[in-house]
């Protein structure tokens, strides 16, 4: 990690193929997951607010509305798990990128 007197050429990093490939993957995951969880999340107030079909009992008196609300928790946990796996991969790419730059510099 470099700071202070040691000047880092940010433009050069930003233009490097490694960084661009990294950002392409990061951005794809980010946009994809934000779109997905927003749709899934807002489906709950929309489907419970404007429609009645989720009121059908599924297990005893437990109805679809409660099960769908509960599924939001599991959706959040699964997506968080997938993100962490993805982010750990990105960490390795970043490390490789930094190592490569150091080798070049020395």
């Amino acid at each position: 990690m470099t700071t202070g007197s040691h000047r880092t050429d940010w433009e050069q990093i930003a233009r490097s193929p490694e960084f661009r490939a990294l950002m392409k993957r990061k951005r794809r995951f980010m946009i994809g997951s934000v779109v997905f969880f927003s749709l899934y999340y807002f489906a709950l107030p929309i489907l419970t607010g404007y429609f009645r079909f989720l009121n059908t009992p599924v297990f005893g008196s437990m109805n679809g509305a409660y099960l769908f609300a509960l599924s939001q928790f599991f959706m959040a946990w699964v997506l968080a798990f997938l993100y962490i796996r993805h982010a750990n991969r990105m960490d390795r790419l970043i490390e490789e990128m930094i190592c490569k730059r150091k080798e070049k510099a020395s």
Partner: protein, 501 residues
């Protein structure tokens, strides 16, 4: 008067003061004060985030809402967890990589420091104050119910304690108070849930069947609390986008050593917060069945006593005292987190960087930080004393709406939009802040429902687009080559962690 409850309260006060004394010896520099010396590990910070987030409003309030309104009460719980996906995936790591103590640090990285810091300090102080008044007024009422202490006495007691934690122990004491509180709250909630489920042969379905038998199947269906689905959507948006703009949550990411630990802390927080909010159904339905709505309403119309009464019904006086003490610890931790976030905005952003132009010495900065905490605390106590008997529940919704409309768009644009500039940030924060407040002033929260100019209780559905529009227009109407030039540096730093402090 309940001696058992008093004893447990006293134990919590002594424990937290002990933590503060220990932390005060380790708080020497501004990094110690604002960011606990970046010494908190990922899982510790995760528990502290949960502690910061699970307020008395969610513990007592949601249990009561579910007990009295059934399904609709649970909708809050869902939003409060899913919102952490925005924190995790979009905000936490870049923010950790590019800031030091406050939200404004990241913005000032590529934008003009003085205007941006002033605007961000304003929105941070507004959010923290709204949230704080709501917590304190609620706390006064709750302690009165639990212990029979006078409202004024409760407010001053809590106020003095929160000032002591923050002014002397800084972020380190605040963090550990939150960790202790989160552990107590989870223990209490798990115990209550197990006892409730035990009554129904550990079958959730059986519990639902009995709820349906006692209160009718419609109690388990949506629509009892929110008649207008748009209200629900607007609230949902405020929770989803607001959490990632709450300053007292965001500053927690500066207490960990790096972005990876920030990520781990959100993951821990999501596990804890998720389990907690799922258990709110057991508390709520448990209270509705085992205590009964009439008794809950008799104790407090809003339903805040549902969880304590449930504890009394299941475990007698000791369990009631324990749950009351947990609620007390919960309030203390949340208000301490709010004080340090507001004090940081005032002392670090406004005083040190705007008034003193970043020239203040370390000693001066520390002194101002401590005095700012005392000032914020005293002002909050006075406001809470004035707001006695007022219905302030809408203030939490307002805090989330301001965070969603004023902060989140500006954070996201700053991190990802090269063209974004100072004018955009300032107009974005101000339009988000002002439109949220104005819309709430003319909403059913403060006007007669049939006369309200704005029909929804939460303004987010309109104020978030307005905040974004303000940021976009402000940006497009001015040019700032310096901000564009520095974008690349911020972008690489925030996304890779190169050069992070």
């Amino acid at each position: 008067m309940n001696t058992m409850a008093f004893t447990l309260f006293a134990v919590i006060v002594l424990l937290t003061l002990g933590i503060t004394y220990w932390a005060s010896k380790r708080t020497q520099t501004t990094t110690d004060f604002y960011a606990a010396g970046r010494s908190i590990s990922g899982w510790q910070n995760g528990i502290a985030i949960s502690g910061d987030y699970m307020s008395a409003a969610s513990f007592l309030g949601i249990a009561g809402l579910i007990a009295l309104n059934g399904f609709d009460g649970f909708l809050y719980s869902v939003g409060w967890l899913v919102a952490y996906l925005v924190v995790l995936i979009v905000v936490a790591e870049p923010l950790r990589n590019s800031g030091r103590y406050t939200l404004a640090d990241m913005l000032a990285y590529r934008l003009k420091a003085k205007p941006v810091r002033s605007a961000a300090a304003l929105s941070t102080m507004a959010i923290s104050t709204f949230y704080m008044i709501a917590q304190l007024v609620g706390a006064g009422g709750i302690i009165k119910l639990l212990l029979g202490l006078q409202y004024e006495v409760s407010i001053i007691l809590i106020g003095v304690l929160m000032i002591l934690y923050v002014a002397f122990g800084g972020m380190l004491a605040t963090t550990w108070v939150q960790i202790v509180k989160a552990v107590l709250l989870m223990t209490g909630t798990i115990l209550l849930s197990l006892l409730v489920l035990g009554h129904f042969g550990f079958s959730v379905v059986e519990m639902f069947n009995q709820v349906s038998a006692k209160y009718g199947q419609s109690f388990l269906e949506p629509g009892k609390l929110y008649k207008n689905p748009l209200d629900n959507l607007s609230l949902g948006l405020a929770l989803l986008a607001g959490t990632a703009g709450l300053p007292h949550i965001l500053i927690r990411f500066y207490t960990v050593p790096n972005a990876k630990e920030a990520r781990i802390s959100v993951a821990w927080a999501m596990v804890i917060i998720g389990f907690f909010y799922i258990m709110t159904t057991f508390l709520g339905f448990g209270a509705a069945l085992l205590v009964g709505q009439e008794k809950i309403m008799a104790a407090d119309k809003a339903g805040n006593m549902a969880a304590p009464l449930l504890a009394e019904a299941l475990g007698g006086n000791f369990f009631l005292a324990f749950i009351s003490a947990v609620a007390f610890a919960t309030i203390l931790a949340v208000v301490a987190g709010l004080v340090i976030s507001a004090a940081g905005a005032f002392a670090h952003d406004f005083y040190s960087n705007v008034l003193r132009g970043g020239q203040a010495t370390e000693r001066e900065q520390m002194r101002v930080a401590k005095w700012a905490s005392i000032g914020v605390g005293v002002v909050s106590i006075i406001l809470a004393l004035i707001a006695k008997e007022q219905n302030v529940a809408f203030l939490v919704a307002l805090a989330f709406a301001v965070a969603a409309s004023a902060n989140l768009p500006v954070i996201v644009f700053s991190l990802f939009w090269k063209r974004f500039n100072t004018a955009g940030a300032v107009t974005g924060i101000l339009t988000g802040l002002i439109s949220s407040i104005l819309l709430v002033l003319v909403s059913p929260n403060l006007m007669e429902p049939d006369q309200a100019l704005f029909p929804l209780k939460n303004p987010a559905i309109l104020s978030v687009p307005l905040g974004m529009l303000g940021a976009v227009l402000g940006t497009l109407l001015s040019r700032e080559p310096e901000a564009e030039r520095k974008f690349t540096e911020l972008y690489v730093r925030s996304q890779t962690g190169i050069g992070a402090e």
